[in-house]
Amino acid sequence: MNGLPWRRFVNVFWTVVSGSTVLVALVPLASLLWLVVSRGAPGLSASFFVSLPTPVGEPGGGVGNAIVGTFFMVGLASLMALPVGVGAGVFLAEKGDGPAGKVIRFTAEVLSGVPSIVVGIVAYGLIVATMKRFSALAGGVALALIMVPSLARSTEDFIRLVPSALREASLALGVPGWKTSLRVIIPTALGGIVTAVLLAVARAAGETAPLLFTALNNQYWNLDPTQPTASLTVQIYNYAISPYEDWHDKAWTAALVLLLLVGLLNLMARLLSRNRLQGAPR
C-alpha cells in the first residue's frame, strides 16, 4: 500500500486541517468581540447607564430603564426558578437512579432544548392572555421556564462530583440521611451550585426572544410586575433593526454593556467552580 512518507504527509495534512478549523471559529469571534468593544465604547458614559432612551436625533440618553428591567425580570425569574431548579437537581443527584429519575432527567434534557421563542408563547398563554396585558411578570415566567431545566441538570452534575466517601462517613457516624444531604453534601457542592445558578442567570439575562411578546418594552422606568418592561436585549434588537445611525451606535453600546454583564457572570461562575471543586461539568 502507501509508503510511510505518504502516510506521514496525510497525518500532517489532517493536523493542519484541524488547526485551521480553529481559525474558522476564532476569526468571527475575534471580529465580533472587537467590533462590540470598538463601536460600543465611544458611547459609554455614566449617563448611558442611568438615563432614559431619547427619541431619534436627540443626543444623550441611555438604557438605564432597560438595565433595571433586565435585572428586575431576571430577579423575578430567579425567585421562581432557583428553588425548583436546584431542588430538582438535588432530587436527580440523590434519587435519580430509579425509573422516575431517568424520566425526569430525560425530560429536563429535552426541555432545555425547547426553543426560547416557544417558551415565550407558553408564558404568553399563561400570563399575558390571562391578565390581558404585557408584563414584567410574564417576562419573568418565560425566563424562569428557560432556567429550570438547565439549572436542574447542572446542579445534579455538581452534586454528583461530591465524593461518596463523604456521604458514607456521615451516615456511618449515625447522621440521618436528610441531615447528611443538607449539612454535608449540599454545603460541599455549594460552590458548584452557585456556579450553576450564575450560568443560568447569565443565560436568562441574554435572552431576547421570549421577552418580545411577554414583557414587550417600555420607554420609562418600571418596577411594577404587572406593567410592560424594557430589557437590555429587546432594546438592542429594537435599536439594531431601526433605520437610524445614532440608534445603531446605541445598539453597539448597549451590546457592550450586555456583554460585560454576561461576561462578568460567567467569569464569576468560572472562578467559583475552580476554587471549590475541581473540574466543572461540560
Binding site: 440523590e94 416557544v118 461540560r282
Partner: protein, 325 residues
C-alpha cells in the same frame, strides 16, 4: 440519602429512630416534589402551546396549513411552508458548515492540537457559547451581511454560479447569512458534545492502533472516529435542534420575506423569526393561534431531534454492541 436508596452504605446503616425516619421521609418527598415539577413544567409547556394555538386549529386543515405558501394574516390565510422551508434550509447550511468545523475543533482540542494551545482555544469556544444571540444578530447585520454582499456572495456566484443555489441578486440578507450565523452559534454545542463523546472512547483502542504503527491521524480515523460516530451524530442533532429554534440572530439577517427561493442569496423567513416579528402585533386570536401553531411545529421538531440526540449520545457512552467502555 434516604434508607430506600440502593446504595450499600445506606442499606447497612442502623435502623433509624422514628424522628430521623420522619426527617428522611419529609426530605425525600420534598425533593421528589421538586423533581416532579420538571414533569409539570413539560406538561404546562405542551398544554399552553396547544391552548394558544387552538383558535387556529379549529376548522383548520392541518395538511393545508403545512403545505400552503400563502401567509396573509389580514385575509386570515395561513400557510406555513415558507417558514418551514426557511428553517430547514438555514439549518442545513448551518450543519453543513458547522459539522466539519466542530469535529475538527473537537479533534484539535482532544487529540491533535499542541497541548499548550488547547486551554485558550477551549476557553474561546466557551466564550462563543456564552454570547447572547441578539449580539450575534447585531454583528451579523452590520458586519457579516455587508461582507457577504461585497465579498463572499460575488465570489460564490463567480465560481459556483452555474448552481441555482448561488444565483440571483446579492443583497447579503437571506438564507446564506442566516445559515452562516447559525453555524457560528451551534459550533460550540457540537464541538463540546463531540469532545465529551471522544472522551468516552476507550484509550486502549487508540493506543492499540498507535502501537500497531498507525500515525496519529490513522488511529483517529480507524479507531476513534468509528467508535464515536453515533455520538457525533447525536451532537449534530443537538446542534440542529438549536439551529431550528434560534430566533434573534436569524430574524435580524434572514430578510423576513415569506417566499420560497432556490437561491441561498434570496431573503427568506423562518419559523422562529415570524413568531418573533408578528406575535406582539398579531391581528387577532386566529393570527395568534396560527403563530402558536408554528411554535407547535417547531416544538415537535426540536423535541424529536433532542430525544434522538440524547439516545445516540448515551449509546456511545455505553459502548457499541455491548463493548465495555
Amino acid at each position: 440519602m434516604p434508607p430506600t436508596s440502593d446504595s450499600a452504605s445506606a442499606r447497612d446503616a442502623p435502623a433509624p429512630a422514628r424522628f430521623a425516619n420522619l426527617g428522611d421521609r419529609a426530605w425525600s418527598s420534598g425533593i421528589s416534589i421538586l423533581g416532579g415539577t420538571i414533569l409539570v413544567v413539560a406538561g404546562l409547556v405542551l398544554l399552553e402551546l396547544g391552548r394558544v394555538a387552538r383558535p387556529a386549529w379549529e376548522g383548520m386543515d392541518v395538511l393545508r396549513f403545512l403545505t400552503s405558501t400563502d401567509w396573509d394574516p389580514v385575509q386570515e390565510k395561513f400557510g406555513a411552508l415558507p417558514f418551514i422551508y426557511g428553517t430547514l434550509v438555514t439549518s442545513a447550511v448551518a450543519i453543513l458548515v458547522a459539522l466539519p468545523v466542530s469535529v475538527g475543533l473537537a479533534l484539535f482540542l482532544s487529540e491533535m492540537g499542541p497541548r499548550r494551545l488547547r486551554p485558550p482555544v477551549a476557553y474561546a469556544i466557551e466564550v462563543l457559547a456564552a454570547i447572547p444571540s441578539v449580539i450575534y444578530g447585531l454583528w451579523g447585520l452590520f458586519v457579516m451581511v455587508p461582507w457577504l454582499r461585497g465579498t463572499l456572495e460575488p465570489f460564490l456566484q463567480g465560481t459556483l454560479g452555474f448552481l441555482p443555489l448561488f444565483r440571483g441578486p446579492m443583497i447579503g440578507l437571506g438564507y446564506l447569512a442566516a445559515g452562516l450565523i447559525l453555524a457560528l452559534m451551534i459550533l460550540p454545542t457540537i464541538a463540546s458534545v463531540t469532545i465529551e463523546v471522544l472522551k468516552t472512547v476507550p484509550a486502549a483502542l487508540k493506543e492499540g492502533a498507535l502501537a500497531l504503527g498507525a500515525t496519529r491521524w490513522e488511529a483517529i480515523r480507524m479507531a476513534v472516529l468509528p467508535y464515536a460516530r453515533p455520538g457525533i451524530l447525536g451532537a449534530t442533532l443537538l446542534g440542529l435542534g438549536r439551529a431550528l429554534g434560534e430566533t434573534m440572530a436569524v430574524t435580524m439577517v434572514i430578510g423576513n420575506s415569506p417566499e420560497i427561493s432556490a437561491s441561498l442569496f434570496a431573503p427568506g423567513y423562518s419559523l422562529p423569526a415570524v413568531i418573533a416579528n408578528e406575535f406582539a402585533e398579531a391581528t387577532g386570536d386566529v393570527h395568534i393561534g396560527a403563530l402558536a401553531a408554528l411554535g407547535l411545529v417547531l416544538f415537535g421538531l426540536t423535541l424529536l431531534l433532542n430525544a434522538v440526540a440524547q439516545i445516540l449520545i448515551s449509546a456511545v457512552a455505553r459502548g457499541p454492541r455491548g463493548a465495555k467502555a
